[in-house]
Symmetry: D3
Subunit: 164 residues, 6 copies
């Protein structure tokens, strides 16, 4: 993802400017929702991988994990579609020229996660969503940092850097 | 909310201990979902307050904002119920002895937000949810900090303190 | 569950008092919804137990029953959360001092029912929900009786005693 | 509704026969769900009627009540459709020859309740649903009685007569 | 299905008459929604039939297809219920005297599709839905034709004949 | 929308090629679902425009129509997102190079329809969705024609041209 240069992002940019990007009748956009769902997809793949037998009880577990996995992969699509389709306009596309491609990639990757139970596929979805989050916070003028999420599957997540 | 003393929370506690609190077949719990919904309730109350006339178009807007407000107040209840009902067990209640009361207060407050279009009522819901988040992160051994959320309604939110 | 003493519940108490417990802007609360869902959880466990082979058709059935079981276990949580979170206030808690604990137990038990396909676990959920129903009708001043529900899984259910 | 004669319904008929009406892979059918929703429609109409002013707060309340009313009118349709479409077969139609017409009437009446805020319309929906419940319990060989429901709107509801 | 005679349906009948069948406060009725869902049921049965192994990945796929199949069988019921329950009135029943029976058959057949993974059962559902569509367009005074749908499962579908 | 040249689309292209565009594990894509929802948005705007008074009954109607309008505008987004995000890949983008922009425009226009009760805005949504349908059928190698939909709001809709 090639961002246009944006100098001088400090810890937190004042809100006045950031909120100006947002039409009065907007909702609240936060990529955290998509990120948490992407993490859940990975978690479910891990739980599926940990099933050992093939008893009815094991198959019942599998059904639950697959259903959860698929719902959360869908939720990733929904949350990203909302931000992209409702909030991304000319001003945002100037800062993130490849947003369309990235969003479409996320859709395709989330579909792959629905069709598969492969960990690498799920991690790649999270990475794309993190990339999206990075761009999103850039449009808001908010710097980001990467940290391990404080619960399983303990993967790297992009967070906004906010002042204490 | 009176926490039992917990010494020495540093920036980030190692995961090994935190994830041990979590049964293998658990989902992913993150109070961010409830916090974002509580913020949305405030936002909708603000948008309702900004409606000036009483034309059909204004009434149509009101319908939309009220519907959104009520859905998100409900979502607060759902997300809190999930964490409290699925994840909070003996170990968590030892750290947060008044969890039942707090959760019940959140339910009542979210109902109030559904019955009203009053800003103070909505802000109080966010404060209760923040209090819940504080307790939640305590059970995970993760320190927290408070920052203004980087979008409208620009209210104070409790975030986990994670290492870069 | 230890109820405070309540003398003189007759067949049906007049409504005037009972409806006074209920704020004007309330919905309609009836534990029957949670009880029917708890019965459905048991029923689905029974149907799962009756699957004999491991053909694709059998696995497809399993998927359906597990999905139904899990949805109804969730519905139990939702219905109980609604009554407890919307209707239970000071007046109700005076009559049912251990309501918080019971509700939390139901949440945990419903989760267990989602993780398992064990009949005893499902029956225990129904028993907790029946206990909740008993308390609920007590707050309404309506006596209860126990009868076998008139359809499979033909388990004991607590019903309100109403005048013909 | 004209039932074919059915002699000798006693307090409760044994289950063996009743459950035989029900294919092994059936769910649990209980008209209580439709009845509670029909009661809620009436309740919402009452709450709408109690709104006095036309302030934004009043309009917000109206939105909530209308949304609730319409959702529950829809729920009536769904619950009745499930019982009629899944459970009613040749054996049931022999006992309730006019079931098709009654079900269709309920659909039309529930639609009317969605288009109106008229109490008589809502009460008529409940009466049709009670009539349906009566027929349903007849197919199960379970006698019924009519009682005032123990919460607002305190209308007459048909219940199954079960042994203590 | 025995239609009453209706002479002289031409390519497209003028709207004035057709829309007169429709109460002002009606929604938009189109059997295409039910037809697409019926096609999806067949498609899912085909995909289930194409699963070759019994690995965890195969079982995960099965879970997804079964869930999709069952949701779409349910959607068939919902869409048909809407048209029949909201739009079919005296004028429509005069043209399609056996509408009740056909709708009930569709409900039963859709249930069968939920209980089975049999292709013939799914195709029969589509045929019944096509029959319903034929009757629906008759009530609208719109002629129909049958064509293979332009995507898998490439089955015969009844479409309205519209002027270019 | 500038399509790359595609010679020789006849009435119906054989399926073999069209279905090859579609991965085995795909669902069924049909823009009819989005088109019907876009028509419903227009219909609701028409019904809103026909409300004459400002009584409680009128406001209740308004609430219903606005809720329906908003749900269907959302459904347009969902259906288009599904086709674009699941089915559109390299082969499709070659035929419809501006698909990203068109899809994003539909998202923005559907949002506008949620914020407004303006007929022209709703008609423009339908036109964009028709444009999308045209492109979709092009990727399938199926010719299209435009006809007035056979029910209110009687607007022009793009349909696939299928052989009798």
């Amino acid at each position: 993802m090639i961002y246009k240069l944006l100098n001088g992002i400090n810890h937190v940019r004042p809100f006045t400017e950031a909120s100006a990007h947002c039409d009065i009748p907007c909702g609240i956009y936060d990529p955290a929702l998509a990120q948490i769902s992407a993490l859940t997809v990975i978690r479910m793949v891990d739980l599926i991988g940990a099933i050992e037998g093939n008893s009815v009880a094991d198959q019942a577990k599998l059904t639950r994990y697959v259903t959860q996995k698929d719902e959360h992969a869908l939720k990733v699509k929904e949350e990203i579609r909302v931000i992209w389709g409702d909030y991304y306009k000319k001003a945002q596309f100037e800062k993130i020229p490849d947003a369309h491609e990235l969003v479409h990639k996320i859709m395709m990757q989330a579909s792959k996660c629905r069709h598969n139970i492969d960990r690498a596929t799920a991690v790649e979805l999270l990475e794309l969503v993190n990339q999206f989050a990075e761009g999103f916070w850039l449009t808001k003028g908010v710097a980001t940092y990467t940290a391990t999420c404080p619960y399983p599957p303990a993967e790297k997540v992009v967070y906004p850097k906010l002042a204490d």
